[in-house]
């Protein structure tokens, strides 16, 4: 029944909604629950196990009964759903259901990261006072409140503050907060987790705002939730308290409601939850509820308070539908039955200690309050108000103000922001006079009537006192065990209404104090969170960062089939005209073996190792000798861990006396770089050596095959191919050329700065090279018996196991891992070693992972297949010799395949093909390569995405160098001995780089400043390593905070500031060049991913 007046609803507007298909109405300001009650809906669902009818029980997030399905949300408490026009809700039986195969929700959620001095959780009297105290002391404050309107319980009460309705005080504080520029108030925002080091996660529900206008122009604004991540100097939980019920028989009927909820419905929503009420209360607040119900016109026929005369509610009566029609009052005054349609129950109050407990704070049981309250803090937090057991409006305001002042006062210690200190400043704040009476302690009453099977402890899970009796009767003593045995507290409300009651009942059954029983663990999230909210914008194509090479668009246009290698997209094969993979690979393989083919090898990791001690350092890391490598020569090498196992492999080239280029496998590039830094910084800091990743600076095309030379000659016409031996490198004005081979054929790996990679690839293909992908690459190398780290190796394989004893220098006393090669386990005979396998049927492809046994049915495993292609395979196997007959057992296909062990080389064992065929043709030489910036393809979309808030653009083709060790006197300092200099730093040779930024002219006008390898030159050309994105406009920070975790407050990340950090989960250099202007430098291979991410973020503005 709706009251004629009163409440914080707008009766002038009518909202239409349906419940289980029934058309109903409510008003702005209603929740779904209040509107249902106003429409006289008593039964809102059925219980999960017993199917009993249930009604609205609370007025908040702790609701155990009124769970409904609304739109995409399969289960949400009706008590927190803001009513909106056209809302469709459906009742549930205790739990929601996802629709299999349903399309993903259109709703778009995002995230944001924010730093503050003081985070206040809860906008009730304590939280408001705390936020005001901290804010007016000059602190950066964030105030979270989970409701649409600030005020908390004050909106539900008739309390007068300084003689005026409490909401007037709320408005005045809200106005003062709004005037403070460093205070941010987030309504409809629920803190769900309090983690290590004052990290608090909260969900803001933006879709709940019925006034959120969809943006026009085809753009979709963000209409879903925002997952906030706060890092706070101090946290003030001011989360209030939850009222609890009493476990008496029939306490679950529709019509039974918490007293505070009944009071909220009459005062806040102008709804009468019944006409004739009985109030059963163990607290003074229950009497307040009785007064407010009576004042609203509800006939309060009895108030039962065991503290007064020992009287109790001992049962309920119901109609045929199970809805409350009366209560049985017993106890001290004898038994009587009273007819009523509302039973308001107050069993006591539980401080909402969830966040405090999640922060690892310790609780104690307060005998006076009969509740668990915060005891020992584990983090920089201080609870305030009812969640600390401080009840009553005036006391909560005073407590909140004290907590806020203290949090702001200690700001200096944990502060990030500058600004006025002013911890002592207090602008005319006074705790208002309050008309609430003094509160008496509650009765310690948990249950009525012994082990009754209809006395519910957990309404959501249908757990009764009888269930708890059974649990303790079975010998369970720990409340955690009881929880798992009975499922009490495991529903969506996670024990908010049931937990304390369960503890009280169990304590009674065990004959101990509740404090001895303790609580179950409070775990995040505080309220259920949809997976979509946790994902935010990280879904679909943005679900994981993607790296692409300079040639990616060309591969896509050519119809390549891609595979993921780490974050990279690599072409697996290039099918022509409906070819299968096998057909395409065979054609590609034939081209590489008999003609000329090309592969995009840009993804290989590339690290420049520079410094006087570079050779010495590499000698200490690698098994073979690298300090003696002649300048211009290449050498294959592996690296081992201290355990002696192979970690990675690659080719090392000596570019100059003090300069090497080390390549790594595609997947291990970052790990290898990290490891080099580790050894240098932590073990050998005195060595003069530094490491610079140039993986994304160079685009690489390997031209492979007996007829490779004419193509390679045409691509880098300034290189003398007549004198170009195997395992050497040559410099070209376009880049670098390495004569190395991963196929056994003649091969040249041509490196040009990434800007020219696409042009290089096209030029190679135009000259007849057949493009091939990773699948053919694997076949070619397997035929030559080249192991792949991570395929043949698995962290338990030494170089010796791979048959690479030759790589270990006898002249070196030590290298990382050497000592482990003489450990008993690694030196023993009978280890698995790399072998070849040939299936009897040459058309057969073994299964990678198949187990090798001596004969069919044998169970002694001799090894396993590591790589398999038609007719050939590599395996790691023990105690086998060439010619042995084995069986490869393929468990997946349930097949046993006979195989013969061979040497792990199937193709050209004597390396006769390495030099290819004599060149018999001269192809059109390349005169220059056109440059293409990393984000050239985005320019139109960048223009289209511009708004008055933010402008996005690429700053193309910026020459850059990295300098290590010595301060170059300019540039961005990224680390203690690490500088990035933009615009052509001194001492850095720029290969093929246009002289000026933005000059997308042809390469070849090589601007060489200094000379590579010149003594003292410590710089490394990284011009194409990074793309530069410019973001400007008044709302730039609103974009950045959705994916960047550092503190971007303008006083902290000041103009001129620059740092390396993560944005959208990719490493970037962030540089603030103006008040609203930021440059983002991102590795070129990740630039397209980041651009897509930024465009998505801009759409959400």
């Amino acid at each position: 029944m709706r009251r004629e007046s009163g409440g914080r609803i707008d009766r002038s507007r009518v909202l239409r909604f349906t419940f289980d298909g029934r058309e109903l109405t409510g008003h702005p300001g209603d929740t779904l629950a209040s509107a249902l009650l106003a429409c006289g809906v008593r039964t809102v669902g059925r219980s999960v196990d017993l199917g009993r009818p249930r009604g609205v029980f609370t007025a908040g997030a702790e609701e155990p009964n009124a769970l409904v399905r609304v739109g995409d949300d399969p289960m949400v408490p009706a008590t927190v759903v803001e009513l909106r026009d056209g809302l469709e809700a459906w009742s549930l039986r205790g739990r929601g259901r996802l629709t299999p195969g349903a399309p993903p929700a259109e709703t778009r959620h995002d995230k944001a990261y924010l730093h503050c001095d003081v985070l206040v959780v809860g906008g009730g009297p304590a939280g408001l006072a705390a936020a005001l105290a901290a804010g007016e002391a000059g602190a950066r404050v964030v105030l979270l409140d989970d409701r649409p309107e600030l005020g908390g319980d004050l909106l539900s009460s008739r309390t007068l503050l300084d003689g005026a309705p409490a909401p007037d005080w709320v408005s005045s504080v809200a106005a003062r907060l709004a005037a403070l520029p460093e205070v941010r108030v987030l309504s409809r925002t629920t803190a769900i987790g309090y983690h290590d080091h004052n990290y608090v996660v909260a969900v803001e529900r933006r879709e709940a705002d019925g006034h959120t206008a969809r943006r026009g122009g085809g753009r979709r604004g963000l209409d879903g939730c925002r997952l906030w991540h706060f890092r706070a100097g101090r946290v003030v939980p001011a989360t209030g308290a939850h009222e609890r019920s009493v476990a008496f028989p029939g306490n679950d009927r529709p019509g039974v409601m918490l007293a505070s909820a009944a009071r909220t419905y009459v005062n806040r929503y102008g709804v009468l939850p019944g006409r004739r009420a009985v109030v059963f209360t163990c607290t003074d607040s229950g009497h307040e509820a009785a007064r407010d119900l009576a004042a609203a016109g509800v006939e309060v026929v009895a108030t039962v308070d065991p503290r007064r005369d020992g009287s109790l509610v001992t049962g309920t009566l119901a109609d045929e539908e199970g809805v409350l029609t009366g209560v049985v009052i017993g106890g001290g005054t004898g038994e009587r039955v009273v007819a009523c349609d509302l039973l308001a129950v107050s069993g006591g109050w539980n401080p909402a200690v969830h966040l405090f407990s999640q922060s690892q704070g310790r609780l104690r049981f307060d005998e006076t309050l009969q509740a668990f309250v915060p005891h020992l803090s584990a983090q920089a937090e201080r609870s305030a108000g009812a969640c600390r057991g401080v009840y009553g409006t005036a006391a909560a305001i005073a407590d909140g103000f004290a907590a806020g002042s203290r949090a702001a006062g200690s700001r200096a210690a944990g502060s990030r922001a500058g600004g006025p200190a002013g911890a002592g400043e207090r602008k005319d704040f006074r705790v208002p006079g309050c008309d609430e009476p003094e509160q008496n302690p509650p009765a310690a009453l948990w249950t009525v009537g012994g082990g009754d099977a209809e006395a519910f402890v957990d309404l959501q899970r249908d757990v009764t006192v009888a269930d708890l009796v059974r649990a303790t009767g079975a010998g369970l003593r720990s409340v955690e065990h009881v929880k798992r045995y009975t499922t009490a507290g495991t529903g969506a409300e996670q024990g908010k209404t049931s937990g304390a009651t369960a503890v009280g009942v169990v304590a009674g059954l065990l004959g101990v104090e509740p404090g001895r029983v303790g609580t179950t663990t409070f775990r995040p999230p505080y309220t259920p969170v949809a997976f979509g909210v946790l994902a935010g914008r990280d879904r679909g194509s943005l679900s994981d960062p993607v790296r692409v090479t300079a040639m990616h668009d060309l591969h896509v246009a050519r119809g390549a089939v891609f595979e993921d290698v780490g974050q990279w997209k690599r072409p697996r094969y290039f099918p022509l005209g409906g070819e299968s993979m096998a057909q395409a690979v065979e054609r590609e393989r034939r081209a590489a073996r008999t003609g000329v083919a090309a592969i995009d090898a840009s993804t290989l990791g590339k690290i420049e190792v520079v410094g006087r001690d570079a050779g010495e350092f590499l000698d200490r890391i690698h098994p073979n000798m690298l300090s003696t490598l002649p300048i211009g020569s290449c050498r294959y090498s592996v690296t081992c861990g201290t355990d002696g196992m192979v970690l990675d492999d690659g080719v090392i080239t000596r570019l100059a006396e003090d300069r090497y280029l080390a390549t790594t496998t595609t997947g291990n590039a970052a790990t290898v770089l990290d490891r080099l830094e580790e050894w240098r910084q932590t073990e050998w800091p005195d060595l003069d050596v530094s490491f610079t990743s140039v993986t994304d600076h160079w685009a690489v095309v390997a031209v492979v095959g007996p007829r490779a030379r004419p193509v390679a000659e045409a691509l880098v016409p300034d290189v003398d191919f007549a004198d170009f031996p195997f395992m050497t490198f040559r410099e070209s004005r376009f880049g670098r050329v390495f004569r190395i081979s991963f196929s056994g054929e003649l091969a040249y790996e041509i490196n040009v700065p990434r800007w020219f990679g696409a042009a290089l690839w096209e030029a190679a293909l135009e000259r007849g090279a057949v493009p091939y992908g990773t699948e053919t690459m694997h076949v070619l190398r397997a035929e030559k018996g080249f192991a792949i780290v991570g395929q043949e190796t698995d962290g338990t394989v030494t170089p010796q196991d791979l048959g690479m004893s030759w790589i270990i220098s006898a002249r070196k006393p030590d290298f990382v891992g050497k000592r482990s090669h003489s450990r008993p386990d690694t030196a023993r005979p009978g280890r698995k070693r790399l072998v070849g396998l040939v299936p009897d049927d040459p058309g057969e492809t073994l299964t990678e992972g198949a187990q090798l046994v001596a004969s069919p049915g044998d169970t002694r495993m001799l090894g396993h297949v590591t790589s398999a292609y038609p007719g050939v395979a590599l395996a790691m196997a023990r105690d086998v010799r060439e010619g042995d007959r084995l069986v490869a057992f393929d468990a997946r296909r349930g097949r046993e395949v006979p195989v013969t062990v061979t040497a792990p080389v199937f193709h050209d064992p004597d390396n006769t093909r390495r030099d290819g065929l004599p060149p018999d043709v001269r192809l059109e030489p390349v005169k220059g390569y056109g440059a293409r910036s990393a984000l050239g393809g985005f320019s139109a979309r960048f223009v289209a995405a511009r708004s008055s808030g933010v402008t996005i653009r690429e700053v193309p083709l910026v020459p850059m160098g990295e300098v290590r060790g010595r301060d170059p006197g300019e540039g961005l300092r990224l680390g203690p001995d690490w500088w990035l200099v933009m615009g052509g730093p001194p001492g850095v040779r720029h290969t093929g780089v246009p002289a000026r930024s933005g000059d997308a002219g042809a390469a070849g006008a090589a601007d060489t400043v200094g000379a590579a390898g010149a003594a003292g030159a410590t710089g490394v050309d990284v011009s194409a390593q990074r793309a530069v994105i410019g973001l400007s406009g008044p709302r730039v920070r609103d974009v950045l905070v959705t994916g960047c975790r550092i503190d971007l407050h303008p006083a902290v990340f000041a103009v001129g500031a620059h740092t390396r950090t993560l944005l959208a989960r990719v490493p970037v250099v962030l540089h603030r060049t103006g008040p609203d202007v930021y440059l983002i430098l991102v590795d070129s291979s990740l630039a397209e991913y980041l651009a897509e991410w930024l465009l998505d973020a801009l759409e959400g503005l």
Binding site: H195, D196, H197, N198, Y199, H229, R231, Q360, A378, T642, D643, A670, D674, E677, E678, Q681, T682, E683, P813, D814, K818, R819, S820, R823, P824, L974, G975, P976, W978, R1045, I1046, T1059, R1060, T1061, L1062, P1067
Partner: protein, 91 residues
Amino acid sequence: MQLIECPWCGPRDEIEFRYGGQAGIAYPEDPSALSDEEWAGYVFMRDNPRGWFHERWYHVHGCRTWFSVRRHTVTHEIGRDPESPRREEFG
């Protein structure tokens, strides 16, 4: 998400770092002089205390500095390692 103070960059979220295990385990002067047991001790054996632990972190997504901290393995409280450099010492 722990907050770890990089001596160069200041406090940053844990996600920017890579864990480096126990600190203070030096590479042996002459591995060939060690017995198999001693070498295995260096390679495989680490402390695993319940309480304060001296450990290394690497600011991989920041300044690429290796450093060490003292961290409590139960409370995750982090204290500065007195031997780790402070920002002002980098010059």
